[in-house]
Amino acid sequence: MLVLSRVAKTYSNGVRALDGVSLEVAPGEIVAVVGGSGCGKSTMLRLLCGLDQPSRGRILLDGTAISGPHAKIGIVFQEPRLLPWLTVAGNVGFGLADRPVGERRQRVSAALDRVGLCDKAPVWPRELSGGQAQRVALARALIMRPEVLLLDEPFSALDAFTRVDLQDHLLDLWADHKPTLLVVTHDVDESIVLADRVMVMRPHPGRIFAEIDTSMPRPRDRQSAAFDVAKRRVLAALDRSLDRVVTTDDGEMGSAAGAALWW
């Protein structure tokens, strides 16, 4: 169980990136975090993977506090961030340096096989397409068998076809060991395809504004009515989080302040 308890982050320049964020994520659950820019969603992931320390509050994984990068928490960044001087196989096996060569080789080839890139093992990262590079980044994180995998807008730099492809692929990979997934995204469709719950965040300072239950059986049909309903609920919450005037389904105009109170 991943728990954030009243987590706040104020940067040294005085920017309050996060304030009073509390969240509990059950093992194997997929949670998406959406929100406008500057709402602190990326800051939240940086705190979770130990790259930054919270100013206040606590982050617990299975009851123990996290105070730095953790062996059971992996992350996939917005950019693949592959090490250009290592081959694809070297990148995937980067975290297994302390394992015997045989085990490493076998796990690397299994991981590459799983992301459909076993023929790319000896290739330099510069020779990969954007989608392939992000698959390698996924393999590099998953080979460590994390309990929690954080994804920071992982597919936002890819074209629409590749993105849909990789969303399905991610769910397929997730089904292997069912790690907890925390996906930060600005793509509402992506949040609904992937997540059991969507957290909508609101900026200045960043905090959780709304929580929307999007649990539906998988695989999810992006064209189904249920998908559409969920999407509309997330979009409405996003509008309110940004203090936009919203038109509800009955055509009633409500002020943003009123909507926020209603929530």
Binding site: G50, P69, E79, R81, L83, P84, W85, L86
Partner: protein
């Protein structure tokens, strides 16, 4: 005229086999050599102060056959090698320490930057007083020349390693030394190699300075000797030896590290 001729030349160059293309660069120097040789042979120029290619070649082959050139070249190479090794070791170590530790940088870097502002030749009298007139002072002068480009190269290269790549190392919980070995050094390697080559070039420059200022052997001694006995051909022969050795050592260095840089994805990385 030239406009219409150019595509033809370009096409002619492109149709040459790959290995022959660098030969185009030889046309200008060869033409100049042939012209000068002809000028001296026909008596248009007397060639006493600027010896024609045939005289230079004869001097060069005399020096080679008598073993003189080999002896002098060896002495010079030894000095460059020692000075280069010393300068690279010191530059790499101090560069890495100042890049990795903020306190070390505040402490050491200002002093080194101040010392860098001194033209290295200005040290010569002091080095001769301190280390004598023999090998030590020469090697140290070369080492000082090599040190600064290497130091700056390492410092700059490590400081400019992409934060995002460093974060990958942090997420994988690398220890300090592992971070240096597995992330910082490989990422800094391309710039480091450039600084080594710049350092080697300066090493050759400073060995000439050191040997001109007093040596009983070495290619620099051949230069001074040629001036004193009035043999310009010997000076040019020594200059040619410097050029060949400098280019050779640089190519060996570049080729030696090439396998480590095959991953580079940059303009000019693959030709």
């Amino acid at each position: 005229m030239t406009v219409s001729a150019e595509p033809n030349v370009t096409r002619a160059v492109a149709s040459l086999p790959r290995w022959a293309r660098p030969a185009i660069g030889l046309i200008v120097p060869l033409a100049a050599a042939v012209a000068w040789e002809a000028a001296v042979r026909t008596g248009v120029a007397d060639g006493r102060l600027v010896p024609p290619p045939s005289v230079i070649l004869a001097t060069l082959s005399d020096l080679v056959r008598s073993g003189e050139l080999g002896r002098h070249a060896l002495a010079t190479m030894l000095r460059v090698a020692c000075g280069f090794a010393l300068g690279v070791a010191a530059g790499t170590l101090l560069g890495a320490v100042t890049a990795y530790g903020r306190i070390a940088r505040r402490l050491i870097d200002p002093t080194l930057q101040a010392l860098r502002a001194i033209p290295s030749i200005a040290w010569v009298p002091l080095f001769i007083l301190w280390f004598g007139i023999f090998e030590a002072s020469k090697v140290i002068l070369i080492a000082v020349g090599v040190f600064f480009p290497v130091y700056l190269g390492v410092l700059g290269a490590i400081l400019s390693v992409d934060r995002k790549i460093v974060e990958v190392g942090r997420v994988f919980r690398l220890s300090g030394p592992a971070m240096v070995r597995r992330i910082l050094l490989p990422a800094a390697l391309p710039t480091y190699v450039l600084s080594l080559r710049a350092g080697l070039g300066l090493g050759w420059m400073f060995v000439v300075a050191a040997e001109i200022m007093g040596a009983s052997e070495g290619l620099g001694y051949l230069l001074v000797d040629g001036q004193q006995i009035g043999k310009p051909a010997q000076i040019v022969a020594a200059i040619i030896a410097f050029a060949v050795l400098g280019k050779l050592s640089d190519s060996i260095l570049a080729l030696g590290v090439a396998p480590l840089l095959r991953w580079e994805d940059a303009f000019g990385a693959r030709r």
